[in-house]
């Protein structure tokens, strides 16, 4: 091919510029410690990395939600624990009251203690976690339990003995495939239910003997019997209290299962997070050693190119003739 000076200088300039451009790119990547700077550098990797970013963000959300749930569960646990000991203590007091002396003063003391327990239970059932009343079921914005004018215990505005209560749910999405059915309800297995119904905790309605199922009311009824010194059918009531106490104990114990569930998912999320973070650095990160070697190669090429230039561009036959 016939070579002209313009061809030489043009392609020399082009190559020099290419070489500099490559160095610049590598420089960017190394400084930013990234394997690509924009989507079109490597679309496949960039889009994969976007997915990993999303799952990292989701894992973070679920972790937050789980730690929220853990907080609520911890609060339940300590509250139910205190209610549990109260019910045990109340049972002991009642049994003592029945079998012990017939001294009216002792009975009055038992009644007073029971009245005191009633208040403690009420206060415990209205416990708050943050701003939420955790025993409010699905309505955690206001204190769930209150007494109406005639001293009846109300749960979310309904009398615990005569009201009708449904299952209550407050779901937290913990990344187990949140699913909402056609009628718009959350599928129970697809999210974590953190609601605890105060009504279920303390009991609702009355049993076949006409005795209240509610712990608070039961303690009140028993206290009334002691106050009136009328212990004729007290056995029925103390049996009922015994039953309630074991019911509370079962509820207390079953919290452990919920806690386990949370820690199981927390661990799973943690390992998912580690994997995703590793994947992210594989996709987005740069192998520094490799990049620096590439950079050195480019630098070498650039220097060689420059050196060549001084020899390439000047001489022609012109330079060798007198």
């Amino acid at each position: 091919m016939r070579m002209t000076n313009r061809m030489m200088s043009n392609s020399y300039l082009k190559n020099l510029n290419n070489s500099l451009e490559k160095m610049n790119e590598t420089n960017y990547l190394i400084t930013a410690e990234r394997s690509y700077m924009k989507l079109s550098d490597d679309p496949a990797t960039a889009l994969k990395a976007m997915k990993v970013r999303k799952s990292l963000s989701r894992i973070e959300i679920y972790e937050n939600n789980l730690s929220d749930a853990q907080g609520i569960i911890d609060q339940y646990e300590s509250t139910i624990s205190s209610i549990n000991s109260i019910s045990k203590e109340a049972l002991a007091q009642v049994l003592q009251g029945i079998t012990g002396t017939s001294d009216i003063n002792v009975k009055k003391t038992v009644a007073k203690t029971l009245r005191g327990f009633q208040e403690t239970i009420l206060a415990a059932a209205n416990t708050k976690y943050g701003d939420d009343y955790i025993f409010g079921g699905d309505q955690v914005g206001k204190a769930p339990f209150s007494l109406d004018g005639s001293g009846n215990l109300l749960y979310n505005g309904q009398n615990v003995e005569t009201g009708t209560f449904h299952d209550e749910f407050r779901y937290i999405d913990v990344g187990i495939g949140l699913d909402v059915d056609a009628s718009g309800n959350v599928a129970p297995k697809s999210a974590f239910n953190v609601s605890t119904s105060g009504a279920v905790l303390l009991g609702t309605g009355v049993d076949g003997n006409g005795i209240t199922n509610n712990l608070h009311n039961l303690l009140g009824d028993i206290a009334e019997k002691f106050e009136n010194d009328d212990l004729s059918d007290i056995q029925l009531y103390s049996d009922k209290l015994n039953e309630k106490a074991s019911d509370i104990r079962i509820q207390y114990v079953s919290i452990g299962a919920k806690s386990d569930y949370i820690s199981f998912f927390s661990e799973r999320l943690y390992s998912e997070k580690t994997n995703a973070a590793k994947r992210q650095s594989e996709l987005e990160g740069i192998n520094l050693e490799e990049a620096i070697i590439i950079f050195s190669e480019q630098e070498l090429a650039y220097n060689a190119c420059l050196q060549m230039g001084s020899k390439l561009l000047q001489p022609s036959l012109m330079d060798y003739l007198r």
Partner: protein, 493 residues
């Protein structure tokens, strides 16, 4: 018989030829770096012996030729390479322009290093999750509102940026159209000059160079077909239309037509079909509607495509969220990416977002979010978060966001990113190849028409020596004549 001064005449043609050769060499060296210059050579031929001018045939065969004749100063060009260069130039320029516009769009949509629609959407999702655990808390519904606002703002920003790119490119396009017109006018001017000079028998090499340079520049903007005419002029055709027609002494002016955002390049009242060149790049990027194109429309993924995508995203997002929030309780207003905003009701009260739609009725009939007969009994302050969970679930469900896309909002944003990434990457790769092809053809062309300094130095020596030699011939002849005239027959004088 040899004429006495015949040798002088021969030597004279030699001197003249050497001088002209030196002139041409000087010209080549002087213009070696001039854009568009093609090297010139002297075309010379032998003056032959013509017997018809003699009455009698020469007696012997010792008649020599009559020296050298200077015929023409030629320029060395290859027309085939010229046309290949122009085709390649059109393609390379189109891709270069397209790449620069696509990079502009990519800059807007890319979230590799910055936050954009995707990350603000994820933030909104995150704020809903937080709200679900803290339903009714004004602090958290406020957080949800502000992250929704941020997302809306990034939508608004995308559109604003796309419009900026669009306006900029439209302006650049109009400037390019002006350039094309200037070039067409200049080509016409050159055609006329060449026609006149050819008729007068004058050299046209420099005019041809200039005209060729105009063709090269014009080919950058659009693909042209050139047709050489007998009188030295060249007609220029684009898509079957004559833009420069020297046969009828006319040339067209191209104009930019904007029909409701659809740009066309017209010449003489008809739309030009432009197959490559920067104009094609501009038109693709500005007119391309991608999947939204109906038959006959440009289906390149251009600015309009991304604008439609964003509009559909905005409309679908506002619709979906408003529906979920309950009938007559819109969270968002506006149904384009430009006009979408937080509704005044939500702006006024952060708790306007419906946290729960649970009612006292246990039959579940009222659980449906859209049943208008439902009286929403519980207020947000009660802390139930069922409706927020519905929103979360919907954000994770497949929705027909556009007639061509069914998936989650998040996937939609990613698909937009994948579109622009793949298109930009493709154009960038092809651009690289086209530039290589162009540079290789340019080299081939330069190899033929370019000035080689080595060659010219050799020519310089060659012509100098030729000049010296011819001069020496004259000296020798002169001495011979001197001998004959002054020294012959002087014996005894």
């Amino acid at each position: 018989m040899r004429a006495t001064f015949s040798g002088f005449e021969i030597a004279k043609t030699g001197i003249q030829s050497a001088e002209t050769g030196l002139d041409v060499t000087g010209q080549n060296i002087a213009k070696m770096n001039t854009e568009g210059y093609s090297r010139q050579t002297v075309e010379q031929s032998s003056v032959y012996f013509e017997s018809s001018s003699y009455k009698y045939a020469p007696v012997n065969n010792t008649v020599v030729g009559q020296g050298v004749s200077l015929d023409k100063i030629n320029q060395i060009r290859d027309q085939f390479l010229d046309s290949r260069f122009r085709t390649a130039n059109s393609q390379a320029s189109e891709l270069k322009k397209l790449h620069s516009i696509l990079s502009g769009i990519e800059n807007i949509i890319d979230e590799t290093l910055t936050d954009g629609l995707g990350s603000t959407l994820e933030e909104f999702y995150k704020s809903l999750q937080t709200l679900a655990s803290n339903a009714g808390d004004i602090e958290y519904s406020g957080l949800t509102r502000s992250s929704a606002k941020k997302m809306i703002e990034s939508l608004n920003y995308y559109i604003e940026q796309l419009n900026t790119v669009k306006e900029q490119e439209e302006y650049d396009l109009s400037v390019t159209v002006d350039d094309v017109n200037t070039l067409l006018k200049n080509i016409d001017k050159m055609n006329r000059a060449i026609q006149v000079e050819t008729l007068n028998g004058n050299p046209t090499n420099e005019l041809l160079d200039t005209r060729n340079l105009y063709f090269d520049k014009l080919s950058e903007n659009l693909e042209i077909t050139t047709i050489s005419n007998a009188d030295g002029t060249v007609s220029v055709m684009v898509g079957g239309e004559y833009l420069v027609d020297p046969q009828n002494s006319t040339y067209e002016t191209v104009s930019l037509q904007n029909t409701a955002g659809y740009m066309t390049i017209n010449a003489g009242g008809t739309e030009l079909s432009i197959t490559s060149g920067t104009l094609k790049g501009y038109l693709d990027a500005l007119n391309g509607k991608g999947a939204y194109a109906t038959a006959g429309e440009n289906n390149f993924n251009g600015i309009q495509y991304y604008k439609s995508m964003l509009d559909d995203f905005a409309a679908s997002f506002a619709d979906t969220m408003n529906d979920l929030n309950g009938a007559g309780k819109p969270l968002f207003e506006g149904n384009t990416a430009e006009s979408i905003a937080i509704s005044p009701e939500w702006l006024e009260d952060a708790n306007f977002i419906t946290c729960t739609i649970l009612t006292t009725a246990e039959d579940g009939a009222c659980m449906l979010s859209h049943a208008p007969s439902c009286t929403i009994l519980t207020t947000a302050e009660d802390g139930a978060c069922d409706n927020i969970l519905r929103m979360i679930n919907t954000l994770d469900s497949d929705i027909s966001i556009t007639p061509y896309f069914n998936g989650t909002f998040d996937e939609f944003v990613k698909s937009m990113m994948s579109d622009i990434a793949i298109d930009t990457k493709y154009v960038s790769d092809v651009k690289y190849t086209a530039a290589k092809v162009l540079s290789s053809i340019d080299n081939q062309r330069e190899s033929i028409k370019g000035v080689s300094l080595n060659e010219e130095t050799v020519n310089l020596l060659k012509y100098q020596k030729a000049f010296e030699a011819s001069s020496r011939v004259i000296t020798a002849l002169d001495e011979m004549l001197d001998t004959i005239i002054n020294k012959m027959g002087t014996v005894g004088r």
